[in-house]
Symmetry: C2
Subunit: 224 residues, 2 copies
Amino acid sequence: MTFLKAEQPQLFKDHAYKEIKKAIIQHQIEPGSMLYERSLSESLGISRTPLKLALQQLELEGWILSVPRKGISVKTINKQDVDEVFQLRKANEVLAIELLIPLLNHETIDKIEKADEQLYDFREDPLKFVYYDSSFHLLLAELSQNHRLYQLIHNLTDQFNWFRFAALKAGQSVDEIYYEHKLMIEGLKTRNVRQTTEAVLNHIDHAQTIIANLIDNEENPMTH
Amino acid sequence: MTFLKAEQPQLFKDHAYKEIKKAIIQHQIEPGSMLYERSLSESLGISRTPLKLALQQLELEGWILSVPRKGISVKTINKQDVDEVFQLRKANEVLAIELLIPLLNHETIDKIEKADEQLYDFREDPLKFVYYDSSFHLLLAELSQNHRLYQLIHNLTDQFNWFRFAALKAGQSVDEIYYEHKLMIEGLKTRNVRQTTEAVLNHIDHAQTIIANLIDNEENPMTH
DNA sequence: ATATGGCATCTGGTATACCAGATGCCAATG
DNA sequence: CATTGGCATCTGGTATACCAGATGCCATAT
């Protein structure tokens, strides 16, 4: 029995992983640009060993491409990448809904409504809206009680946010999406799997359309 | 233009990853047992740096648990783990079917039937049967043309195989599952999404029942 | 002018030395 | 006898030196 919290030590690899991923998602690092272990480790103030671990995680999650003895680059994306991510999101967020609904109770419904209110507060602030929209989807995944599913959706929403930051930079707003959440919540409150599923699919499809148009239309630094 | 094949160099980390994962799946390493970086690196004949990369990949994929400065252990599993893996398998293999069917042609159907014949050849050899059954499911994932989905199903079927090796060790055979493939193939050949989906779900449910019983029934080294 | 060979210098990959937290034994102390 | 403090020795984490493949420049040869 241990009372003094064995707080997890902050490992350099985790810190590096978060920092680099954030920089990629927020487009502080452009897709296609090279990363160099030596200069990165220097700017992060750590050695190459924990940095390599961070980079490998990013590679396994599909953010960067590492070619042995040649170099590491931030991945560029094309329409197929967008399609793949959205196909997976749809199937797995629907799964989360199906698992979640039989588990709902007053407490969890309350949590969901609270999360949605937070979202509403930031409907005019695109950056924060992106953040809280993800939180909303992640909350549903968490309440599905399938931890592997949560991890998967987490990864997919991160990738989605990457696309989305590009849309924001390009001046496109996706804020009207907020109102689609209302339909999802109504479906959840009435434990209606079909209504909720449809609302989720509409919600995701709507986002996909916006992103797909952005990717298709022109040369932009995300595509190769 | 490069004609001389730029064959990917064999990296030590990949070799170590494959070897350790194989040992875990085939239960040469028992769940719950500890792994030590120094002795592992020695027995693999590599240093700790590439080994750490291999171990981290195994951790990210859920095979092992690493506690900073304390140790690394092979994960034990419980009924919830089994449920999680099978929930994900069902949703995502159904997705693969839905994506695959509109893409089918003579060539791909031929591939699928060939794979099934190979499977039939090993219906009496449980070890090889496990291998070719996975190949069959992976082929369907591959033909869905969603690479992320392929990777996901690959990971899930590997975890499934881990369960399955335990079933084989416990003397339970799951070979009758072969005949369920026939129904899947018929559905595919007639491009019938509903029939194929149902066959896949039955197929996976059948396997889940066998594994769940094994986990539930008794103390065995997989559970904690 | 062009093709080529070799070297300087990039890159990531690997091995290893060292650091710090965790643990358990055991002697010193009450 | 029970408790405690400290040290020996485990563990993984980190920093760093070195190795080898990849690349491009430039001198040289044709």
